[in-house]
Amino acid sequence: MCTGSAIALRFFDSPTSKPGGIDRVTDTAQSSLAHSAGQKPPFWRNVTFLKWAVQIVVLALVVGAFWFLAKEARQNLVDKNLEPSFNFIEGPANFQPGEGIDTQPDTAGRALWVGMVNTLRLAGLGIVASTIMGVMVGLARLSNNWVANKAAGIFIETLRNIPVLVQIILWFAIISQLGKLTPESGKLGGSFFVTKKGISVPRIFLADGFYQWAALMVVFFAGLLFTRRKLQAKQDREGGDQKVGTKLFVLTIVAAVVAAIINPIMSFLGPVFDEFSDIWGDIPRSLMQTALSLIAIVGAVEFIRRFLNSRRTPAGLAKLDDDDWFRMIFAGLLALLAVGFFWKAWPGLSSWIIHSGSDFFGVAGDKFGDGRGARPFDAMLPTVTDGNIANYAKTGLTMTVGFTALFLGLVFYTASFIAEIVRGGILAVPKGQSEAAAAMGLNRSQALRKVILPQAFRVVMPPLGNQYLNITKNTSLAIAVGLSDVVQVGQSVYNKNNQTLAVFAIWIAFFLTLSLTISFVVNTINRKLAIVER
C-alpha cells in the first residue's frame, strides 16, 4: 500500500478496529432487527425515502439557484434595456469577416454562418493534416534508426510542452515578418506565393457540372461495389494475387473520367428536385408538429419496451427497483417535454424545418437544372490585385496570415500528441503478431499495413477521437490572430448589438453539436472495430 492511504487511515481513524464503529453498526443492526420483526422502519430510516429526499432537495437547490441567477440576469438586462432575443440574426451585420465563403454578409446570421464555415474548414483540415503528420512522427519514433528516433522524440517533447496559444501567436509573429507581397513575388511561374500576407496557391473549385457528375458517380459507385464483391469472391476461390486493389483503382479512375464527359445526362434530376421542393413546402405545420411529436413518443415507448424486455427473466418480469422506475418515468417525461416544446414553446421549429427542407430541394433543383456547363471541376492561378496596397485576388486558394498561423500551430501541437498515441498503439500490439506475419512471408511494409496497423488502430481510436475534439475546440483560439471563426464573429456581433447571451447560446449550441457529432462518429467506429467476444 502506498503511504498516502496509511496517512489517511491514521488521520481519519478507521472505525473498523475501534469501538467508534459501533454507532453505525448498531444503527444497521437496529433497522435489520426491526425489519426482521416485520415492523416497518420509521420513514427517516427508510433508505429509499432518504435517497430520494436527498436527491430531490439537492435538485431543488440547484434548480432554485439557476432560477435565482436567471431572474437576476433578466432583471439586470431589462434594466439596461437589453432584453435577450434572437431577432438580431435577421438584422444587419455591420461588419465584414476577414475571409470565408462571403466577406460581405448582409445579416448577422449570415456572418455567423460564415464564421461557422471557417471553423469547420479549419477543424476538418486540421484533423486530416495532424493525423497524417502524427502518424508519420509516431512511426519515426519507433524507427530503429537512432537519428530518426531522436528527431521524432525532440519534435514531440518540444511541441507538446509549449501551450498551443503561444505557438499560434509565435507563428503569427514569424509569418508577419516574411517578404512583402508584390506581383513578382510568386514562385514556380506565379502559381505559388508565400509572403507576409499569407499563402496563396492555385485553386481547384467545383464547376457547374459537379452535381451531375457526383450523381453519376453515386450510380457508378454501386457498380464498383458489386465488381469488388465479384473480384473478392474470385480471389477467395482461386487464390493467387488477383490484384483486386489495382483493378478497382483503375476502374474508379475510368468511371470518374467517363462521368466527367457524359454528366449532362443527369440534368433530368432538376425538375424532379423542384417537384420535391413544392411537395415539401406544402406540408402544413401541424402535420410536421404531429410527426415530430410522434417520433418523440414512439422513441420513448420503444425505450421503455426494450428496457422492460431487458429486465425479463425466464421466471417472468424481474422486480423493478426505484432506479428502474426513474429511468422509465424520465424517458416518458422527456418525450412529453419534447411534445410540449414542438407545439407550445417553439412552433417555429416545425416551420423552419418545412422552409429549409423546401429551400434545400429548390437549391438542388437549380444545381441540376438544364443549361449547366459540362465540366465538374475547374482551376485558377493566384493573382495579385493592383493598387496602392497589394493584396491577393480571389482567384487563388489563399490562406491568410491568421489562418496559416492557426493551422500550423494547431497541427504541430496536435500532431505531437497523436504521435505519442500512435506509438503507444503500435507498441500495444503483441510482438508475436509481427513475428507471425514474418513467418507467413509478409515483408515489413505488408506486415505493418495488414497486421500491425489494423490492430493498433483499435487501441488508438478512443484517444485519437479526444484529440479530434481538442483540435475542433481549439479552433476557437482564432480570436488571438484575428481569424473570423464563429467565436470572433460572435464577439464582433455582440460588441455591435449587445446581445451577448444570445450569441453565447449560439456558440454553445454550435460547439456542442460539433463535439457530439465527432464523439458519435468515433464511438460508432469504435464499436465496429471492437473484438467480438462471446
Binding site: D23, I174, F504
Partner: protein, 627 residues
C-alpha cells in the same frame, strides 16, 4: 540530464548496488553501424533526418539572431515578464516567496527521502552531446556550409561566438575525458549532494564571472553596459542557491527528529495552504488594523474554533450519530438562510443581514463539519484529533480571509498586483487546487447509484467538455456580474478563476472516474461487510485507492492547466504571454518587437511543463502504476 536519473529511492537508505540496472557497453564504431547504417534504408534515414534536423536548427538560429530581433527587449524586461508591475522597491517580497518555495521543495524532498542518483557514464554522454550541439551552433554561426539551405547564420555577436566555442570545447573535453580516462564510468553513480554542489557552483560562477552584460530598463531608459549581470540579479540568486543547498541538508536532518508520517502531513498541508499566504500576505502586504483585528477577528476565530471544536468533540461520540445529523441539518438551514438573506438583501429576521461574510462562511463550514462528525466518531483520542483539525482549519482560514479582506499597502501603478509569470503560476495552482474537490464530487456523483445525481453530473461534465475553454472564460469575464444581485460583484481575475475552475473540474471528474472504475467490486463488498457507512467507505476505502491510480493522469492535467492559463491573456489578464505579445511591443523603445519575447515565453513554458512531465514519469515508475 534528467534522462540519467535513477528512481527516487524510498525506503532503503542506501540502494544496494546490485539493484541498479546493468548498462550494456557498446563500442562507438559498432554502435554507429548498428544504429545508423545497419541497412541501406537505415542509412538513407540517417542522412535524411540529419539534414532535416540541421536545417531546422539553422532556421531557429536565423530567427533568434535575425537583425530584426532585438534581444535587449527581453533582457531588460525580465522583471516585467516575471512579476509585471510589482514595485521595484518592494521586489524583495518576490524573492522572499521564491526562497520560501525553494526551502519547502527541499524539505519535501527530505520528507519523502528523495535523493536521486546519476550515472556518470550517461552524464558524460549527455555532456558530450550538449557540447556537440553547441559546436554545431558555433559552426553555423561562424563558418556555415556552402550550399543555400545551410548557409552561415549572421548576427551572433563575436563575444557570444567566443563564449559558445569555449563552452562547447569545455563540455566536449569534459565528457570525452570522463569516458576515456575514468575507469569503468558506468559503475560510478554520483550522489545528489554532489550534483547540488556542482549546480550551485556553476550557477554562482556564471553569475559572478561570465560577462553577460548589465541590462536594465528604468524610467524608459535602456541600460546596456558590459560586465557581469546586474547586482539586483546576482545577489538574490546567490542567496537562493545557498538556501537550496542549506534547506536540502536541513530537510534531511529534520528526518531524525520528526516521525515520517507527521513530516509528510505537514508538508502536504503546507503545499495546500502555503502559497495562499505567500500571495495574499507576502506579495499583497495587507495593512492590518491591529485594533480591529484584536477587537473583532481574534475573538471571532477563538469563539468559532473553541466552541466548534467542543461541539464536534461532543457530537463525534459513538451513538450520537442522529443527534449530530439533526444539529447539522439545523445549522445548515441556518447557514443557507443567512446566505439567502445576504443575497436577497431583504432579511430582517434576527438582524443577521449585517453579519460579517467571514461568519457566514464559517457557519456553513461548521454545519458541514457537524454533518461529518458521525463519520469520524471513535475513541477520545480520535475525537480530539477531529476537534484539533477543526481548530487548525479555523485558524488558517480566518487568517487568510482577514488578510484577503484587508486593503493592500502596495504602491502599484496598475491595479492587479499579480502579473507576469507569477500570475500564470498562481492561476494554475488555484485552478488545480479548487477543481480537485469539484472533480471528486462530480466523479462520485456520476458513478453514484442515485439517478438524479448521476444525471446532473453527466449533464455538467458532458456540457463543459463539449465547449471550448475560451467561450467559458468569455462568459465568466463578461457575463458573471449580470447574474449577481445588485451590489455584488466579482473582480475580473476572480471571475476568470471561477470559470476556469468549473471547466477544469469537468475534466478532473473524468480522470478521477477512470480511477474509480479501476476499483474492484470486492472492495465495496468488503467494506459493506465491515459495516462502514457510505461516506466512510468512500473516504477510507475507495478514494485512496482510486486517487493513487489516477496520479499520472492528474499530473498530466496539471500540466494542461498550466499551459492553458495562457488563455487568460485573451480575456484581459496580464500573464506571461500577454506581456510578451502586447506589453513589450508597445514600449516605445522596442516598437513591434514580438519575436524575441515570444521565443522567450515559449522557452519558459517549455522548461516548466517538460520538467513536470519528467517528474510525473518518474513518479509513475516509482508507484508502479501505468504499467
Amino acid at each position: 540530464m534528467s534522462d540519467t536519473q535513477t528512481l527516487v529511492t524510498d525506503d532503503a537508505e542506501e540502494p544496494a548496488a546490485s539493484t541498479r540496472p546493468e548498462i550494456p557497453i557498446v563500442p562507438p564504431r559498432r554502435w554507429i553501424k548498428e544504429n545508423l547504417f545497419s541497412s541501406k534504408s537505415n542509412g538513407v534515414q540517417t542522412v535524411l533526418f540529419s539534414a532535416l534536423m540541421l536545417s531546422i536548427v539553422r532556421w531557429l538560429l536565423s530567427l533568434i539572431f535575425a537583425e530584426a530581433s532585438d534581444w535587449t527587449s527581453v533582457t531588460t524586461n525580465m522583471r516585467l515578464l516575471f512579476a509585471y508591475n510589482y514595485p521595484a522597491a518592494q521586489f524583495i517580497r518576490v524573492w522572499f516567496c521564491l526562497g520560501v518555495i525553494i526551502v519547502a521543495a527541499m524539505l519535501t524532498m527530505g520528507a519523502w527521502n528523495a535523493k536521486p542518483e546519476f550515472s556518470l557514464r550517461k552524464m558524460a554522454i549527455s555532456t558530450t552531446a550538449g557540447g556537440g550541439f553547441l559546436a554545431v551552433i558555433w559552426f553555423m554561426c561562424t563558418v556555415g556550409f556552402g550550399f543555400a539551405p545551410l548557409q552561415k547564420v549572421d548576427g551572433m555577436s563575436s563575444g557570444l561566438r567566443l563564449g559558445t566555442f569555449l563552452l562547447a570545447a569545455l563540455l566536449i573535453a569534459l565528457g570525452l575525458g570522463v569516458l576515456n580516462f575514468v575507469h569503468e564510468p558506468h559503475k560510478i553513480w554520483i550522489k545528489f549532494t554532489t550534483m547540488l554542489f556542482a549546480l550551485t557552483g556553476s550557477v554562482l560562477g556564471f553569475l559572478w564571472l561570465v560577462p553577460f552584460g548589465r541590462y536594465e530598463f528604468a524610467d524608459g531608459e535602456v541600460i546596456n553596459e558590459s560586465g557581469t549581470v546586474a547586482t539586483s540579479t546576482k545577489v538574490p540568486w546567490t542567496y537562493m542557491m545557498l538556501l537550496l543547498v542549506g534547506a536540502y541538508f536541513v530537510g534531511r536532518w529534520l528526518r531524525q527528529f520528526i516521525p515520517e508520517a507527521n513530516y509528510r502531513m505537514v508538508m502536504i498541508v503546507w503545499w495546500i495552504v502555503g502559497p495562499s499566504f505567500l500571495i495574499f500576505h507576502v506579495l499583497r502586504d495587507p495593512a492590518f488594523d491591529m485594533g480591529y483585528v484584536f477587537r473583532v477577528d481574534v475573538p471571532m476565530a477563538l469563539a468559532f474554533g473553541l466552541g466548534g471544536g467542543a461541539l464536534l468533540y461532543a457530537l463525534a461520540k459513538p451513538g450520537r450519530g442522529e443527534i449530530a445529523r439533526a444539529i447539522g441539518a439545523v445549522l445548515l438551514l441556518f447557514a443557507a438562510y443567512n446566505w439567502l438573506t445576504a443575497g436577497l438583501g431583504s432579511g430582517h429576521l434576527f438582524g443577521w443581514e449585517s453579519m460579517l461574510q467571514k461568519a457566514r462562511i464559517t457557519f456553513l463550514m461548521l454545519s458541514f463539519a457537524v454533518l461529518m462528525a458521525p463519520t469520524f466518531s471513535g475513541e477520545p483520542a480520535a475525537r480530539r484529533r477531529f476537534a484539533y483539525g477543526w481548530i487548525g482549519f479555523i485558524a488558517i482560514s480566518h487568517w487568510l480571509i482577514t488578510g484577503i479582506n484587508t486593503p493592500s499597502t502596495l504602491d502599484i501603478a496598475a491595479p492587479p498586483f499579480l502579473g507576469g509569470f507569477v500570475l500564470t503560476l498562481a492561476i494554475a495552482y488555484y485552478v488545480f487546487l479548487a477543481s480537485f474537490p469539484l472533480g471528486i464530487l462530480m466523479a462520485l456523483a456520476r458513478t453514484s447509484k442515485l439517478p438524479l445525481f448521476r444525471v446532473m453530473a453527466t449533464v455538467y461534465i458532458e456540457f463543459i467538455r463539449g465547449i471550448p475553454l475560451i467561450t467559458v472564460l468569455f462568459f465568466f469575464s463578461i457575463m458573471i456580474n449580470l447574474f449577481l444581485p445588485n451590489g455584488m460583484s466579482i473582480a475580473e481575475l476572480g471571475s476568470v478563476f471561477v470559470g476556469y475552475t468549473l471547466f477544469s473540474g469537468a475534466y478532473m471528474a473524468e480522470n478521477i472516474r477512470g480511477g474509480l472504475q479501476a476499483i474492484r467490486k470486492g472492495q465495496y463488498e468488503a467494506s459493506d461487510a465491515l459495516g462502514l457507512t457510505t461516506v466512510q467507505r468512500t473516504l477510507l476505502i475507495v478514494l485512496p485507492q482510486a486517487l493513487r491510480v489516477t496520479i499520472p493522469n492528474l499530473v498530466g492535467q496539471a500540466i494542461g492547466t498550466f499551459k492553458e492559463t495562457s488563455l487568460i491573456a485573451i480575456v484581459g489578464g496580464f500573464d506571461l504571454l500577454r506581456i510578451g505579445n502586447s506589453t513589450i511591443p508597445a514600449q516605445s523603445v522596442f516598437q513591434g518587437q514580438k519575436r524575441p519575447a515570444l521565443l522567450f515565453v515559449c522557452f519558459v513554458y517549455w522548461v516548466f511543463s517538460y520538467s513536470m512531465s519528467r517528474a510525473s514519469r518518474r513518479l509513475e515508475t516509482k508507484l508502479g502504476v501505468g504499467d
